[in-house]
Structure formats: structure tokens, C-alpha cells
Symmetry: C2
DNA sequence: TAAAGTGTAAAACGGTCGTTTTACACTGTC
DNA sequence: GACAGTGTAAAACGACCGTTTTACACTTTA
């Protein structure tokens, strides 16, 4: 595998599992199997690496979120959690750990959140057969965010609860 | 004010605003207006301080959450966010930043989450006039958690959306 | 008035942080 | 066969980490 790709994948795993600050560069170079010199030649700094990690995560997530119905949104989340584990939203965690003070990271996070909201809006609109549904979109967004967060301690139950709640709200909006 | 109380309050503010790891002890002693010797005499270590912070936050939060209806749950959250700012759940952030690997902290976090769930269950049951409502409780919990998380980037809109969604689900459960 | 307790100020502790540098091996190319 | 490019291994960088220690001032109490 490409060095940089492998490095970013390793960093994503370690940052997600152990936290950003708690993950030292020594551990990173060791687990990625490269020297610190090569690491810094490829990514420049730890902050840039974190931004790159969020960038690839954003792309992988958005690819998966390319669905047609509100129900499927939560299927995607359930599968994602089964595949990658539920340790909370890495974007919000990065934002919180840096106090929102590092623009490189804050930008990626806020852009990701806006893209997610826009995607949910699109799915809601399609699922309901057109029309404006800003309020329902915000509700589904909150359910989605809540499912991610609550899955940390409630597991898959949080996701299926969110799914059912969303279905209720959609059904109510239809009638 | 009592030294330890003031220290914990200062630590809560700094940990919440800037993150746990990102907050150094120098900054803490400086802003709390005491020497490092006094700090360590009173709390022992940074980890213990973090656990103490979560402890007082838990008590303050639970006092506020002592309400009777589902609607009021979200009123409490709205007021809390206005008073203290919405930077995400400090419990989950602490858990994430430490990878869940520090028992002292993990215990406080998971206990707090279970207490919150139990309190919501009690409120839901009272609001619906008795009976078992495990599924609805889980849905309200997810909405609450989602409102906290989404408020970081959507502000108060996330909270009022959660409030309305919860009201819809409660109304549906009543009929 | 001596002792014990509690506080501050500040230097120092050993360790670890992110990052840079040095020294060297291997590879493909003109 | 020199050469630039890219990699590793590992030492070293200065800064900062959480924590402990030293030295000293003030208050309370017996």
C-alpha cells in the first residue's frame, strides 16, 4: 500500500481508539512501520495529519451515506458502527480536544457537519416526494448525531431507537 | 470561596473550553490563583481533578434535570446551554480523550450516563401516566444526546428541534 | 513563644512531546 | 559509475509535561 495512505489509515485507527493528544508520534511511526523522517516528509506535522485523517474519513463516510431513504441513513450508521466501532464522532471529538482553536481542523469538522446536514436534507426531500422539510431535516440530524453519541454507551440499541423514532417522524410528516 | 471548590470550578471551565490534555497545570494554577503545591495537596493528581470536575458537574446537572415532563427536559438543556455554552458533553469528551482507559474517569462517565437514562425513564413514565416505556425512553435519550452534540455547530436550533421531535413521539405514544 | 498547619513562589525533577538532524543503505537513471 | 531520490534507524533538539521539592511567610493554637 501507498506509504501516505497507510500512514493516514494507521493514524485514524490510533486517534479514534486512543485520542488525538494521547497518541504520540513514536507509537504512530512504530505502528505504521516507517521512520519519523519519512512521516514528516509526507505530512509535515501532527496537525496536518489529523486534518488528513478527517479528510479521508469524510470521503469514506459520504460515499456510504449515498442512500435514498431516511431508514437507510440509520442502516448505514448501524453498518458503520459494526465495521468501525462506535467511539463517538471523530470530527466532534477532534474539535473538542482542540477547543475549536485550530482552523485547519475546525474547518474540516464544520464543513463535514454542513455536508452531512445537506445530504440528510436531500434524502428527506426525496423520501417525502419533494417539498421543503427544514424542520424534519433538523430532527433527523439530531437523531443521527444522538445515535452516534449514545452508541458509545448504549451500543446498537441507540441506533435502532433512532431509526424507529425517525420513521415515526417521517410517517407523521407524510400524513 | 473554598480553595478546592474554586479549583474544581476553574478546572471545569478550562477543561470544557480547551480540552483536558490541552490544559496544562501551569495555566490551571495561574487561573485558580494558587500554587502547584497547594493544588497537589488538595487533589493529588490531574486525573483525580478531572474525576472531581465530572463529579460536581454530575451533581449540578442532576439537580437541574429534576423535572416532571419530557418538554421540560429540553427546557433544562436549553437553559444549561445558554448558561454554560454548548461545547458537547464533557463526560463523553473526557471518555473519548482518554480512550476510556482510565477507570476513575470511565466509571464517572458511565455512571452519569446510566443515571441520566434512569431519570429520563422516570420522567417519561410520569408524563405518560405510568406503564413501561423503554423504547420511548431510549428515543428521548437519543434526542437529548443528539441535541447536546448538534448544538456545538447548530446552536439552539438543534435543541428546539429535539424538543419538537420528542413532543411528537410522546403524543404518538399517548394515542 | 514554640510548634504545627497552611499557604505562596519558584526552581528542579525525570520523562515525554513533536520535530529535526545525522548517518547510512538501497534504487533507478543519465 | 556518479547521482539524485527515497527510505530506515536512531540520536538529539528544545520545549513542555505533571509532579515534587526547597525555602519561606503567615496564622492558629497550646
Amino acid at each position: 500500500m501507498d506509504i501516505k495512505t497507510n500512514l493516514i489509515a494507521t493514524a485514524e485507527r490510533l486517534f479514534d481508539r486512543n485520542g488525538f493528544s494521547a497518541t504520540g508520534m513514536d507509537r504512530l511511526t512504530q505502528e505504521a512501520g516507517l521512520s519519523s523522517r519519512t512521516l514528516y516528509k509526507h505530512v509535515g506535522s501532527k496537525t496536518v495529519l489529523m486534518a488528513l485523517v478527517l479528510g479521508v474519513r469524510e470521503r469514506r463516510f459520504m460515499e456510504r451515506l449515498d442512500v435514498q431513504t431516511v431508514d437507510e441513513i440509520f442502516d448505514v450508521l448501524a453498518q458503520w458502527t459494526r465495521d468501525e466501532g462506535g467511539r463517538g464522532c471523530l470530527f466532534l471529538r477532534s474539535y473538542g480536544e482542540t477547543g475549536g482553536d485550530i482552523p485547519e481542523i475546525a474547518n474540516v469538522v464544520l464543513t463535514h457537519k454542513e455536508a452531512t446536514r445537506a445530504k440528510i436534507a436531500e434524502i428527506v426531500q426525496r423520501d417525502l416526494g419533494g417539498g421543503d422539510h427544514g424542520e424534519l431535516t433538523e430532527q433527523i440530524l439530531v437523531l443521527f448525531e444522538g445515535a452516534v453519541a449514545a452508541a458509545v454507551y448504549r451500543g446498537m440499541d441507540a441506533i435502532s431507537a433512532a431509526r424507529k423514532a425517525a420513521a415515526s417522524l417521517v410517517a407523521q410528516a407524510r400524513s
